[in-house]
């Protein structure tokens, strides 16, 4: 089979960082090619080189597409050849409709006048192709992340795509949505679309990939043919981190549940705009010191909404409920008060809610605890550097220095900065919302170790995750949420994927 794409000796440097160092990548027509590697290995950068985000001339090496050398000066150039990239962060216009987004910049128009009938008809056809059951006129902002992802793919399909690049498409998706997306990729393959998928979820990689290329420190370390050899996750992990990894979860030693640290009673929250929509319905929970408690549920179960409303009523309008910390009613009605009461919330949306992207690591790590690096309101740059340096080491943040702007960090390393920020605030109760989203296996293990250590120090950890294995591997107890209410509570011994799912299904059936 002749290769569709060959990238040879690609080298790309940024001031102070060699992101790619002679990378080779060969993709054959009609295959699904997985690109894996640790955070900061250079996966996104490689794809940006390929798609012309970094124009020809800003990197070294050559790219052959269909056997002919290409030199893209912009994303438009690469799109013309049928190379379409869907970035780690989605790029849809929230207020425009699905149809408008799909045909943005490529409108079905004659003489500048848009033909809506044609637009909608073609959109419907595309949506059917990606299996999205929505009207073309629906504004994109009303769709969940999973559906938005499908719109992105529909948009790609509208452009005669030959090579589809997906940068961590499933990072923000629920398991069901991920499944759907992967099925779609397989279907597209059957129709002759070649794709490159970047993912940290190795089970998905195993499921769909025909070939797996592993990057480490900006260089290609292995390329496996998944059809020829039986590829195990462990083999991929070994290539990624450079050594075999025995376990995915650290042992839960030294952890001991103590007194009740936080208790929530009958917490009820309404949607911020639609007052009649109750999003969190009479939730009660308890968290003991030294415990890691999970909140399981599907997308839209109201877990993030619950967490954010607990954290200074940052989401929605609280209608009723009471929070106690160490047995005393606590005022957590504003973020600063919640922080003062010992709460911290690590958001699932680091770009929008977690980081000031244009500022350095020092700035971001210290933001929630400026008192810790200042005296009488005057900042100490020395202290800031020292603190940031400490977390850089503890969290293994890959960066040329702590004065690097976080926008220049890879996605996973940005996540570590958000975590560091909240660790530095020294909370007693830490609410983690998808704490390992977009993080590589090695770093996940490190983060789990940190979570265990925090629990062993007597803190309480509330962990929201869409990855059930993660909850099962880490938690002492799991609450299951569905449609805004807690539908069950399972101890570590009782909990299993099946039990969790059956609780959810049972609730749905009763509600229906």
């Amino acid at each position: 089979m002749k290769p569709l794409l060959q990238m040879r000796g690609i080298t790309k440097t940024f001031p102070g960082v060699r992101a790619l160092d002679g990378v080779n990548l060969t993709v054959h027509a009609g295959e699904i090619h997985a690109l894996v590697g640790e955070n900061g290995a250079g996966k996104s950068t490689l794809m940006k080189v390929l798609s012309g985000v970094y124009p020809h001339g800003s990197y070294d090496g050559e790219i052959l597409f269909d056997g002919a050398p290409v030199a893209f000066r912009s994303v438009r150039d690469s799109e013309e050849k049928g190379i379409i990239i869907i970035h780690q962060e989605l790029a849809l216009v929230p207020l425009l409709s699905i149809a408008e987004n799909i045909f943005l910049g490529n409108e079905c128009a004659r003489g500048g006048v848009i033909s809506w009938r044609e637009t909608w008809a073609r959109t419907e056809a595309l949506l059917a192709k990606v299996g999205l059951d929505e009207a073309p006129q629906t504004p994109v902002e009303r769709l969940g992340v999973g559906k938005q992802q499908l719109v992105e793919i529909a948009k790609a399909l509208s452009r005669r795509v030959r090579l589809l690049i997906l940068d961590e498409p499933t990072a923000a998706l629920s398991e069901a949505d991920s499944e759907k997306l992967l099925d779609l990729l397989l279907e597209l393959r059957a129709q002759g679309v070649t794709s490159i998928i970047i993912s940290h979820k190795l089970n998905e990689v195993r499921r769909v990939a025909d070939r797996v290329t592993v990057l480490r420190d900006g260089a290609t370390v292995a390329s496996h043919d998944a059809r020829a050899e039986t590829l195990t996750e462990d083999m991929i992990v070994r290539d990624m981190v450079g050594r075999p990894m025995e376990n995915r979860y650290p042992p839960r030693e030294g952890r001991q549940a103590g007194e009740v640290l936080m208790e929530v009673r009958d917490w009820r929250v309404a949607h911020p705009e639609h007052a009649e929509r109750i999003v969190v319905r009479d939730v009660s929970l308890r968290l003991r010191a030294g415990e890691v408690v999970g909140i399981a549920g599907l997308m839209g179960a109201g877990r993030t909404e619950l967490a954010m409303s607990l954290f200074g009523e940052s989401w929605g309008r609280k209608l009723a409920g009471e929070a106690l910390i160490e047995g005393r009613p606590a005022d957590i009605s504003r973020v600063d008060r919640a922080i003062a009461s010992g709460l911290a919330y690590v958001t699932e949306d680091r770009k929008e809610l977690g980081l000031v992207l244009d500022e350095p690591i020092t700035f971001n790590v210290t933001l929630a605890n400026l008192a810790g690096v200042s005296r009488r309101g005057v900042l100490s740059p020395r202290e800031e550097s020292r603190v940031a340096e400490r977390y850089r080491e503890a969290m293994v943040i890959r960066t040329p220095g702590v004065h690097q702007k976080v926008v220049n960090l890879s996605g996973g390393n940005q996540q570590k900065v958000v975590l560091s920020k909240w660790l530095f605030a020294d909370p007693r109760v830490l609410i983690l919302d998808e704490p390992t989203r977009g993080i590589d296996v090695g770093a996940k293990y490190e983060i789990y170790t940190i979570i265990n250590r925090l629990a062993a120090e007597g803190r309480g950890i509330l962990m929201i995750s869409s990855e059930m294995p993660e909850l099962l591997g880490m938690c002492d107890r799991i609450y299951v949420m569905c449609e805004g209410t807690v539908v069950g509570e399972l101890s570590a011994d009782e909990a299993s994927q099946e039990r969790i799912m059956s609780l959810i299904v049972k609730h749905r059936r009763q509600a229906a």
């Binding site: 001031p15 954290f311 940052s314 000031v356 500022e359 400026l370 309101g377 740059p381 004065h403």
Partner: protein
């Protein structure tokens, strides 16, 4: 584009590469300084040396003091992610109020000054309230404020000009600090063969130069100790030489004229205070966080609404102060005072490197930006260029500065 030059890790790269990499990262800051020096040299030549004559330098400071004072507040508002279009009108209104109080009502100067500053604070609070707590776009709120206060000063003055002010009030702007160190000036005058030299001015200049050098060296030592990106030695020396040279040169000119103008002192002190607040305090840090990502700031426990409110209160205060200085300088309050001045102030802040989207910009940049505008205004007026061309040229300079910014950012990507 050559990638070879920017390659390699910073440590491994040859010295030339490191300097070039540093320069690409900081082109903006040097560019601003170089632009100011170049523009001054340009007009110095075109005006046959009038620009840097002692009397004109004094004038330059007087003319630009109110722009610079307002630019300090505007920088903070813009860094916080907002804008204030009303400052020109507020300046005019406060001047009118001062005139009515002093000239018509015969109120004591100190009462008037306090009342005017308080009025500015109230105006800022009134506008800030809608922006901060109601989420109404600042553009709209302050556009309304611009109309309201323009009208209000017309009403206050009943369409007339009111003046003149007592000398006590005029001193706010046109007064000079008395020479406290004449014994220092006399030998200097003898040495340089000048008619007289203001000792205090030269002493202050020497102290300021020393402080700049000392602080610069200390910051450098800190950067080195903490492995921060280090400014190449040549640049450090050159930059400080230019800055200190300029201070000594300008001070000498001032010293051989009438000494330190009061406004220069006010302006310098305010600049230092605001530079310190924005760069070294938690308050300043929070404002940058607010402008950089409001939601993330709020979720970090930063009271974003209160901070936004305070940025406007502060702006109102500074606009009032500028209004007093402006009225004192012209010695009359007119209904047109401060007309379109907000545009000069905003332009100064953007020329100084602030970003429309908030979170970016420095006090020093805004001040240099204001001086760039000021020197252009002054130089072109001396040359007798019509107000029509002046506007066109200033507009183009603003555009060029921002294009330079955007271009620079792209090149770094």
């Amino acid at each position: 584009m050559t990638t070879e030059t920017a390659q390699g890790t910073a440590a491994a790269a040859p010295a030339g590469g490191a300097i070039r990499a540093y320069l690409t990262g900081h082109l903006r800051e040097y560019g601003l300084l170089i632009a100011l020096v170049a523009i001054m040299a340009f007009f110095q030549v075109l005006t046959d040396g009038t620009l840097l004559r002692p009397v004109n330098i004094t004038n330059l400071f007087l003319q630009n003091s109110y722009i610079i004072i307002m630019a300090l507040g505007m920088l903070i508002v813009i860094v916080g992610g907002n804008i204030d279009l009303s400052v020109g009108s507020v300046l005019g209104f406060v001047g009118a109020l001062a005139a009515v109080m002093i000239v018509n009502w015969q109120m004591p100067v100190w009462v008037t000054v306090l009342a005017c500053l308080l009025t500015g604070i109230v105006i800022g609070a009134a506008q800030g309230y809608w922006v901060a707590y109601w989420g109404i776009p600042s553009f709209i709120v302050t556009l309304a404020g611009m109309l309201v206060f323009r009208g209000a000063s017309l009403w206050l003055l009943e369409g007339q000009s009111i003046g003149p002010f007592p000398t006590e009030f005029q001193r706010l702007s046109t007064g000079f600090v008395p020479d406290l160190l004449p014994w220092l000036g006399e030998p200097l005058a003898a040495l340089a063969g000048a008619r007289r030299v203001n000792g205090l001015t030269m002493a202050v200049a020497a102290l300021a130069s020393g402080a700049i050098l000392w602080l610069g060296l200390r910051a450098r030592a800190r950067d080195r100790a903490y492995g921060m990106e280090l400014e190449p030695t040549a640049f450090f020396v050159l930059r400080n030489a230019i800055v200190i040279g300029a201070i000594l040169f300008l001070s000498w000119k001032l010293a051989t004229f009438r000494g330190l103008p009061n406004v220069l002192v006010t302006m310098a002190v305010l600049t230092l205070v605001y530079a310190f607040i924005t760069e070294r305090t938690t308050l300043g840090r929070r404002i940058y966080a607010l402008g950089g990502n409001r939601k993330a700031a709020a979720l970090s426990g930063i009271p974003t609404e209160r901070l936004t409110f305070l940025t406007f209160v502060n702006m109102g205060f500074l606009a009032a102060l500028a209004g007093l200085i402006y009225a004192a300088r012209l010695n009359v309050a007119t209904p047109k005072a401060g007309f379109a001045l907000e545009l000069d102030v905003i332009a100064a802040v953007f020329i100084g490197g602030a970003s429309m989207s908030g979170g970016v910009g420095r006090v020093v940049g805004a001040v240099v930006g204001a001086f760039i505008m000021g020197v252009m205004n002054n130089g072109m007026s001396i040359m007798g260029i019509g107000i029509d061309y002046q506007q066109v040229i200033k507009g183009l300079v603003l555009l060029a500065a921002v294009i330079f910014d955007v271009y620079n950012k792209r090149k770094q990507a």
